[in-house]
């Protein structure tokens, strides 16, 4: 291997290589630290579960107190004196057991992390995860370096040891595809016209895709073969100015996220009709003065009816589709009482959507006086409003046909709400305690506890999936298996994120009610007072 002659003056290539080495070292260390931290989090959660089960299996009062504090999410760590006593007891037992027992076969195997062992300790697993993370970063850096130097196999001896000794090859100018954002060679970029007529520099794959899209559009626009008689023999007359656009012509554009095809020149919100009277909405508000959802609606005495939600300062709420609910679009679907926007209400026309009653709005918001000032309600005033709102929602749910599947308890108010195929709750071995497995939700505090526990268990699966993927990488598993496993881990994480949104949504709706009941001196049947004291 030929090496470059020593020179007393530093060369620029040496400085570049030193910088590259420092960067790669930093990347490896960071990857190792991150992998180790992820696995440490998994081990901490697992140790917490083991401690909780261990405490539950013991009948001593100290263990019971520690477990109750752990279940309540309160301090049970080093700041708590009992923790030290418990840790000393457990530590002493572990030392005595380790002193007496022989070493396990896994411990006598030796070797670096990554060998096939059926049992490992938590520190070994953390170190193994960090090792695998660093090894992956190192292998990836070598792969990228080999790819950048144009060699098939990575060379670990630097550019000066490259066969031929021609030095660093000339850098290939690269550019970014304006359609997909991929970094490709500049020579591979070329101007192409999108299906919308815009010219952009695209890579070869995007050019082919755009060409296919344009060809498809051209085929769709081409008239069908064979003469087609005009089914309507009538004279075409232009629409008069200001005519109402046909909502059937409006389509939802997935690319822009807007409605297209209609006209907004008249201020009409295209494609959306009032669920009360069927009139096209103007600025997302019904414009029919005879509809009681219209802001200009007056009763028989000529007074405005308080069905206009703009008279209430309401918290920010969202429809199930993710759209923020604007004033004038507040409705509810029967049997669920969920907030729904008018856009989604169009899809539920077979279901009797109803506007919220003023009492319901008052229960969740604050009234506004004539000067626009918010009128704060006392808990004593709000408590009966909440009760009346619940009664209205219940009456509406019972008075409208249920569109839910028969197996769901939604809409049924009797005690047989459980579906027929409901599996028995998983026994936990402790009938007195509630866990996330038995599903006993009598209060909002129980809901908060159990939903948080479910989210934690989903997070445990996600964390173990990360280590699983690192193991597959370390063992050079097949690409298809890793791709499939990674995709499924992403799905688990997405389900966890969705669950967190559900929890936040439910809490945002129910906490004000519970606060109001608590403020009015509600009973323990509604919520545990100490839960809100801790909050």
């Amino acid at each position: 291997m030929a090496s470059a002659p020593w020179s007393p003056t530093p060369r620029a290539s040496d400085a570049v290589e030193i910088i590259c080495i420092l960067i790669i070292t930093h990347l490896i260390m960071r990857a190792a630290a991150q992998a180790g931290a992820d696995q440490a989090r998994t081990e901490v959660r697992r140790a917490g579960d083991a401690i909780r089960r261990d405490l539950g299996a013991r009948r001593s009062a100290a263990a019971g107190r520690l477990r109750s504090r752990l279940d309540a999410g309160r301090d049970a760590g080093p700041v708590y004196p009992l923790w030290w006593a418990w840790a000393a007891l457990r530590g002493g037992s572990a030392v005595r057991r380790a002193w007496r027992q022989n070493r396990r076969p896994a411990e006598t195997q030796g070797g670096r992390p990554g060998t096939n062992r059926s049992t490992t300790g938590p520190f070994s697993r953390i170190f193994g995860a960090a090792w695998r993370g660093g090894a992956y970063a190192w292998a990836d850096a070598r792969r990228q370096r080999a790819a950048s130097t144009g060699q098939g196999q990575p060379q670990g001896t630097g550019s000066r040891a490259r066969p031929g000794g021609t030095g660093r090859p000339k850098a290939v100018p690269v550019g970014v595809c304006e359609r997909c954002g991929a970094v490709v060679a500049l020579a591979a970029l070329a101007d192409a016209t999108t299906r919308h007529g815009r010219t952009a520099k695209m890579c070869a794959a995007c050019r082919a895709a755009v060409a296919g899209e344009r060809q498809g559009d051209a085929d769709d626009a081409r008239p069908q073969a064979g003469p087609v008689d005009d089914p309507v023999d009538a004279e075409v007359v232009d629409d008069p100015p200001g005519a109402t656009p046909d909502p059937e012509l409006n389509t939802w554009d997935e690319n822009t996220g807007n409605w297209s095809g209609g006209t907004d020149q008249t201020g009409v919100t295209p494609g959306v009709r009032c669920i009360e009277c069927g009139e096209l909405l103007t600025g997302m508000v019904c414009s029919n003065p005879e509809c009681r959802l219209c802001p200009g609606y007056r009763d028989r005495r000529g007074l405005p009816v308080a069905t206009n939600p703009q008279q209430w300062a309401l918290p920010v709420r969202f429809c199930g589709c993710g759209r923020q609910l604007m004033p004038g679009t507040w409705c509810a679907v029967d049997a669920t009482n969920a907030d729904i926007c008018l856009w989604c209400a169009q899809d539920h026309r077979e279901v009797a959507c109803r506007p919220r009653e003023p009492v319901e709005l008052a229960a969740i918001g604050d009234p506004i006086d004539a000067d626009g000032n918010r009128m704060a309600l006392s808990p004593d005033d709000r408590a009966p409003l909440a009760t009346e709102a619940a009664r209205i929602a219940l009456t509406a749910a019972q008075g409208t046909p249920n569109d839910s599947p028969p197996a769901e308890p939604a809409g049924t108010q009797d005690g047989s709400a459980a579906p027929a195929a409901l599996p028995a709750p998983t026994p936990t071995g402790d009938d007195e305690d509630m866990t996330c497995a038995n599903g006993e939700v009598h209060t909002q505090a129980d809901w908060a506890d159990q939903s948080a526990a479910i989210t934690g268990q989903l997070a445990g699966i996600t964390d173990s999936a990360e280590n699983m993927l690192r193991c597959l990488t370390a063992k050079e598993a097949s690409r298809s298996q890793m791709t499939t496993a990674a995709a499924w881990a992403d799905q688990v994480q997405a389900a966890m994120g969705y669950g967190q949104d559900v929890i936040a949504d439910v809490n945002a709706r129910q906490d004000p009610y519970v606060d109001a009941v608590q403020g009015a001196g509600g009973s323990d049947e509604v919520a545990r007072p100490d839960y809100y004291d801790e909050m």
């Binding site: 939700v441 173990s464 050079e476 559900v502």
Partner: protein, 110 residues
């Protein structure tokens, strides 16, 4: 459960058998969570609770159910490619806990 032992919750899957254990355990946990949510729905409904909360939980259940189904599909897909290779390795006197790389190499050469 001892924290000194390795099981599916630690995610250590050096062999296909361990990977299968991890996948099956994860799917079983998801099924337990689904059952828990189902019980919560029934409890809330029996208590005349918030119907919107029930609907939200049902939607969450549907998400988890989809994840369970795709997880089972994932296991079936991976087994479809790797179990024949594993059987061939075992028939040739190979280890029962064949590392992933051997499966992958056999699959590539097949």
């Amino acid at each position: 459960m001892s924290i000194a032992t390795t099981d599916a919750s630690t995610g250590e899957t050096y062999t296909h058998r361990a990977w299968l254990d991890w996948a099956e355990t994860s799917i079983e946990r998801l099924q337990e969570l689904w059952n828990s949510l189902d019980s919560m729905c029934a409890q809330i409904g029996a208590d005349d609770g918030d119907q919107a909360q029930i609907a939200a939980i049902r939607a969450w259940q549907a998400e988890i159910e989809a994840v369970i189904a795709s997880g089972r599909q994932m296991v079936a897909d991976v087994n479809a490619t790797q179990v024949p290779v594993g059987e061939a390795v075992a028939a040739a006197g190979g280890s029962a806990n064949t590392p992933h790389k051997q499966y992958a190499d056999e699959a590539r050469s097949a």
